[in-house]
Amino acid sequence: MTWTVFFTAIFSAMLINNVVLLRFLGVCPFLGVSKKTESALGMSMAVTFVMVVAAAVTYPLYYLVLKPLEIEYVQTIAFILIIASLVQLVEMFIKKFSKKLYKSLGIYLPLITTNCAILGIAVQNITDNYADLYGIGPGFFVAVVTAFGAALGFGLVMFSFSSIRERLDAATNLPESWRGVPVSLIVAGIMALAFLGLGGIV
């Protein structure tokens, strides 16, 4: 396995298979927490942190516990519960040890429990069969890197969408019926089309 694999994984997860605009996962925080750039950045940081940790936990859990015990059918519920527990533990540690981090991420952590992008990437890491392609050990690193790339893609889209929304809120020449959610949905659609154009790169 070469560095090319890692760069392709990051690039592909970030732009070509963007988790929000092309796979329609994590749309709730995309629309809900994108009114202000500051909130969007906070949410993106929290998602990056949890997505990477969740991938690092769920991948070995599947190959070292669920598969040997032949209980792959509980994968979805197991991942949901493990991710929810993980978020609780992460929040607890942040509360205890880092006031600064809690101030910036604390409010977004409970929301991540219900963020389907986290579960989506954890499941994708299994269905994409990195273990068969690269072996269980190297496959783990590809899974974590993919999760990081997906989180970067989430952050990129959140930041750009929130910046556009801030400018649209300040616009005075926008028809009244278009203000708020309608124009945001149109912008989201145009952004999805733009990302679709990156499809043939890799």
Binding site: C28, I77, L81, S85, L89, K95, Y102
Partner: protein, 59 residues
């Protein structure tokens, strides 16, 4: 079948323990009250912060 049930029960137990531990851990000083304005944008019905704020408002 039994390992699956046991695993799910274990995962539920893990969640309950982590939830209880998180609930018991006090927030850092000055940050116990969450700024209502900060989470006004999200309409997530499962959000515990929103529920707490609504309860406080009702009182």
């Amino acid at each position: 079948m039994l390992p699956g049930i046991l695993f799910v029960c274990g995962a539920v137990g893990l969640y309950m323990v982590s939830f209880a531990l998180n609930k018991k851990t006090a927030a850092p000083e000055g940050l116990s009250k969450i700024d209502a304005l900060k989470c006004g944008a999200c309409q997530n019905f499962a959000c515990t912060i929103k529920q707490t704020l609504e309860e406080e408002e009702a009182v």
